[in-house]
Point group: C2
Chain length 221, copies 2
């Protein structure tokens, strides 16, 4: 368990990050899921759809390998791997350190791809605008109630890999009901990075949030 | 990160658990995987295959809900849920407390189903004979190198949900090579709880280990 001092320190840095992102009108999303639910694939699909209209960057968390960041740099966006040295989640200090060398200024959209896991990553404020949870249909329809922390906190949950629905036991209506019970204000989008299902709806949501963010920033100035 | 004192305390309790399990000739496996890779389904398949010949029990870890233990009790085996109160892994103290009320004495085989996650659960000795890692083909073939802690420690890795191989991008040979590189002494079994593929091989491995354990215990007495 985290001490009060650790929480306070994390949240102070997160607040500074949030101010900096706000000044630059950068929309920041913290993507959280089990290993292999499709976080990197989602960012790839988003860059392909929105990369011409928006400046997108990504920080990718993991305990080992540069693979996720390499996949994203191959699409021509700035991406930096944060290796946690065994740690099971990102925190605000790690995000701040990863941004310090520069290269991520003036973005419209910054993805923070958290370390794979549904528990520890859910508990840390990284200065993001909101957290996005991903749940692949192959993981089973009992996961929202089994991991309520993230599914009650995420403003948006993406059900991923729905192209595999014909081959697995997954009750989409039951999951929608679980999510609505845990998180009445949360939104749900059903997607497949393989077929493109739901990617337009996801990108439209991002585009709406980006427009709102820019409007607010202009208005504040 | 854990302090030396925490590691020492955990390992002392784990050693006492190991002695107790050894005295009772109980083979104990710590099952570790991402959420939804099929730990509970594997235990169910094992009980169906070996339940008439061996006394099997299970402790199931999670942050919320009794669902996994309920699924297993429905098969007529003793099963108890360990709720971690938000904690991302089991430890030896939690296992010891869960066993204290009794009901798990004289088992041949005890499964400890860890909390879903590939990082924190890998680091704690629970007094088990060995750790078993599960990796479903839907999680992607890059996971061993991305989560080397568990895949280098597990005596046995089960590749699960191979019935879904035709529908996903997963290079089985590449994963075998990654695992061999991380863990040359480790074994790999390819399974599907849906079709039964590999379940016989898994049960045969357990049966061999159970025979060896009983022989050693008899010889020691």
């Amino acid at each position: 368990m985290r001490t009060t001092m650790e929480v306070d320190e994390n949240d102070s840095i997160a607040e500074l990050l949030r101010e900096r992102f706000s000044e630059q009108s950068t929309l920041v999303l913290d993507l959280i899921s089990s290993p292999g639910s499709g976080k990197t694939s989602l960012i790839e699909a988003t860059v392909r759809a929105l990369g011409k209209d928006y400046r997108i960057g990504a920080l990718t968390g993991g305990v080992a390998t540069e693979r996720d960041a390499e996949r994203l740099r191959a699409l021509g966006i700035p991406a930096r791997q944060i290796l946690t040295g065994g740690g099971c989640h990102l925190d605000a200090r790690l995000v701040n350190s990863a941004l310090s060398p520069g290269g991520f200024e003036g973005l419209d959209l910054l993805f923070i791809e958290n370390v794979g896991g549904l528990i520890c990553p859910a508990t840390h404020d990284l200065g993001e605008d909101f957290k996005v949870a991903l749940l692949s249909v192959t993981e089973g329809d009992d996961k929202p109630f089994k991991y309520p922390g993230i599914f009650s906190r995420a403003a948006l949950t993406l059900i991923t890999k729905v192209d595999l629905l014909p081959y697995v036991s997954f009750d989409l209506d039951a999951v929608r009901a679980e999510l609505a019970s845990l998180n009445p204000a949360g939104r749900v989008i059903v997607t497949s990075a393989m077929t493109g299902d739901g990617i337009w709806q996801w990108c439209q949501t991002l585009s709406d949030r980006l427009s709102a963010k820019v409007s607010v920033a202009s208005w504040v100035v």
